[in-house]
Symmetry: C2
Subunit: 318 residues, 2 copies
């Protein structure tokens, strides 16, 4: 699997591309688009003056503005990179100013709710191709972005029925040019898949870190000192952006509650096995989970380096 | 915080040191002891012929044997590195052959059960200083070990009442020479602390990976493809040694069930907040967990690199 970009595009996909919301994802898109020459001109739109200032300082866009109407008016493609809870109002604010024939996309982590909230605002002369790049880090903001964030990661498109094939093909080409693999599915199926591969893991991680923080018999300092026993792995995703994740859970309620129900059922089984000293149940469960890790490594979705490569430097000196 | 070993010892702590069980931990100890000149001679004892053969091929011990009695008879220090469930029988097997004045230690992840199972077998002329290095990777076996595994990690000693101060000081010096920080506490407190920083995280990780594997509506291939959304982090510790972890849960039942009860209570609160659309509860919870991550990074127990440094190579090319 490639670990670096292919060549930049010979011919850009877009004249002007506008990105609304220049956080980790939006600013990574800006960097990747410039590096891969995917658009001739990048307009960065953000409601925060601080963010606009950072984006200017980083020089990752050709034009930076906090004015949505002015920002989108010449754009052939507009990508919404704001928290899920804000997608609807942004769509409404920009709707009357979109260029005829423009493509609107987004990067939200839930899709059914976004289609419901965004699509009704959009004029019929634009195409809407919702997208979700399954990539990220625990850091936020324009400084956290980098151009290779999407390399070898999957991007899921969930176009509503009736979306033009041309628009879907263009958004696919956009993500492929940033190094991603693209898959198309329904918003409903997306929300179920991501509930288990992303939303539930985040909820569990946030929860266990909270539980550890609330203990009386074990001090915070002990939790931190002895975190290398496994706990520290969970603190990484529990350090993710709180607004983004609040919105994910509010907007993918049914699928998350379904997965959480299954998780709790399964946990009760393990709990019972521990209580009654049923080593066989524990051993069998702990054995079959190894195979999934192996597949994730084989398909290039994680590194085989022990301990996520934390020891890479040390190992060299062994 | 140091990222490499200090100088090797000018004078070894032990003439002969025996290690029983040459898996990830035992073989890492052998490598670190040789590198730091902590013992003049290392005897490796393992019941498995395959393991003995690998240890010979790796040349990480001066003598390799599957005979416990012969292996321990000249040892000034014996370290048990077998799964918790086997500690008692090994202690019984070696008890009559231990050298007068020897120090016996171990590396088990639970301590109350080990004190109960090992101490009664030991003759009064030896000292028993149980130890738990809070370090490891998801890999197992003699090939997985490396000398710097314990560097900058904590090692917890839980000497029973009446253990000689000299023996405790010697085991402390042993771990410090391998690069660890040492803390002394009661076995009961150890088991409570590790239940939250290590045992519960492993149980939760094993559980969520099992839940994902059992879904009907989401295929295994989708779980693997889209694992970069957070799920893959959990698969690492869910790939840990099944026998070791079975024994941990069977031998630290009370503390694990207590922590699991709290975890489930807290999860119910988050579940209820999702069900009723209570964004404030979610946001507040997700905000306070960030501080713990920060402390873990500041105290050198994890790296600040985004995504555990998985993107290190990519970032350089941004």
């Amino acid at each position: 699997m490639a670990d670096h970009f292919g060549s930049p595009l010979a011919k850009p996909l877009f004249g002007t591309l506008a990105i609304i919301g220049l956080g980790l994802i939006g600013s990574s898109i800006a960097r990747a688009i410039r590096q891969q020459k995917i658009a001739q001109r990048i307009v960065a739109i953000d409601a925060s003056r601080d963010v606009c200032e950072r984006v200017r300082a980083l020089s990752i866009a050709d034009h930076v503005t906090d004015d949505i109407a002015a920002g989108v008016k010449d754009a052939d493609c507009v990508i919404l990179c704001v928290p899920v809870g804000r997608m609807g109002e942004i769509a409404e604010a920009m709707a009357g100013h979109l260029k005829h024939g423009a493509i609107v996309s987004d990067v939200g982590s839930v899709k059914t709710a976004i289609v419901t909230q965004v699509a009704p605002h959009l004029p019929s002369h634009v195409s809407f191709v919702p997208a979700h790049p399954v990539a990220g880090t625990e850091y936020s903001g324009p400084d956290a972005g980098f151009s290779t964030l999407f390399l070898n990661r999957w991007c899921i498109l969930t176009p509503p029925d009736g979306t033009s094939d041309d628009a879907i093909a263009t958004v696919r080409a956009l993500w492929e040019a940033m190094g991603s693999n693209v898959e198309v599915m329904s918003p409903e199926h997306h929300d179920l898949v991501l509930a288990v591969t992303s939303h539930l893991p985040h909820l569990i991680a946030y929860n266990i870190v909270g539980t550890a923080a609330d203990l009386e018999a074990v001090t915070q300092s002990e939790v931190i000192k002895f975190s290398a026993g496994g706990f520290r792995d969970f603190t990484r995703i529990a350090a993710s952006d709180p607004i983004m994740w609040r919105d994910v859970f509010l907007n993918n309620k049914d699928a998350v509650l379904e997965m959480l129900g299954r998780f709790s059922e399964d946990l009760s089984l393990l709990q019972r096995a521990i209580r009654f000293g049923d080593g066989e149940t524990l051993f069998n469960h702990f054995t079959r989970t190894r195979a999934i890790r192996r597949s994730i490594i084989e398909t290039g979705q994680d590194s085989a380096a022990p301990d996520f490569g934390r020891h890479a430097k040390d190992s060299a000196s062994q």
